[in-house]
């Protein structure tokens, strides 16, 4: 049987310019390009460090050229956009339970030999941490990691 043919309204390739929220969405998605850019940058730097002081200096001279500095400023902006939007989405993507949670017995359906059959299970309920707590604790993590890396590199 062939798939039914349905009409689809053509969507412009520039659909995301129509609304501010769409633009923000596409900017957020584009942040991945700068993640990849800086990963490559870091790999080149570590490679240069491994090859000796001279090649490290050469790398840093290249990294100080105006074009690369501008790219890295843009990369920092996109990276911060990624951080803020990622932290904001975490409480929607996962349930974080605090001390008030407890285990209860429940039923669920499992697939056995192609059949759905009921089975006993245990689930955790209650004590869900509010979104603001989840978001705030991520910023605490961000500050701690940033402080540690800065200390490690500059001490």
């Amino acid at each position: 049987m062939s798939a039914p043919v349905t009409y689809r309204q053509p969507v412009s390739r520039l659909w995301w310019l129509k609304k501010r929220t769409y633009v923000l969405f596409v900017m957020r998605e584009l942040s991945s390009v700068f993640v990849a850019w800086f990963v490559v940058f870091l790999m080149m730097m570590v490679f240069a460090i491994g090859r000796g002081e001279e090649s490290y200096q050469k790398f840093m001279d290249w990294a100080a050229s105006p074009v690369i500095v501008v790219i890295n400023v843009v990369a920092l902006a996109f990276s911060l956009l990624h951080t803020v939007t990622w932290f904001a989405l975490t409480p929607q993507a996962m349930v974080v339970r605090g001390p008030g949670s407890r285990q209860v017995r429940a039923m669920k359906e499992v697939r056995v030999a192609g059949q759905w059959v009921p089975a006993a299970t245990v689930v955790r309920v209650g004590g869900r941490l509010p979104a603001s707590v989840v978001i705030a604790s991520q910023y605490v993590g961000l500050v701690a990691v940033s402080a540690f890396i800065t200390w490690l590199v500059l001490r």
């Binding site: 969507v11 995301w16 596409v26 991945s32 460090i49 490290y56 100080a64 500095v69 990276s79 990624h82």
Partner: protein, 115 residues
């Protein structure tokens, strides 16, 4: 059919890379992309070499790089699919994105092993 088994793994790599990028990347860009090249701070080469060649740094570096590369691959795939309406080319786009991340991961492994 195989696609169904691969999808959860790339999702896991995507979200793992998203977490890592959100926490580690801003400070790394500030330090190595701006502060050191522009001379705001100047750590000794020997110190940097010692930090980078420590086995724990190598391990963490490799983990961060692999996760962030697959984060890029997964997100960029859908940026092209949905953003530019290229859904009909999803297969080749996916091969290029995940393939690119895989090549990058291999390169990172080589770099880490030969510092």
């Amino acid at each position: 059919m195989t696609k169904r088994h691969v999808e959860p793994i790339v999702w896991l790599l995507f979200s793992g890379g998203g977490v890592v990028a959100s926490v580690f990347l801003p400070i790394l860009i500030v330090l190595f992309g701006l502060a050191i090249p522009l001379g705001w701070v100047q750590p000794e080469y020997d110190h940097l070499h010692a930090v980078v060649s420590h086995w724990l740094t190598r391990l963490v570096f490799l983990g961060l790089v692999v996760l962030m590369l697959f984060h890029w691959a997964h997100r960029f795939r859908f940026t092209l699919d949905d953003g530019l309406q290229l859904r009909s080319f999803d297969r080749p786009i996916a091969v290029l994105c995940y393939g690119g991340a895989l090549v990058g991961s291999m390169a990172a492994l080589l770099i880490v092993l030969t510092i």
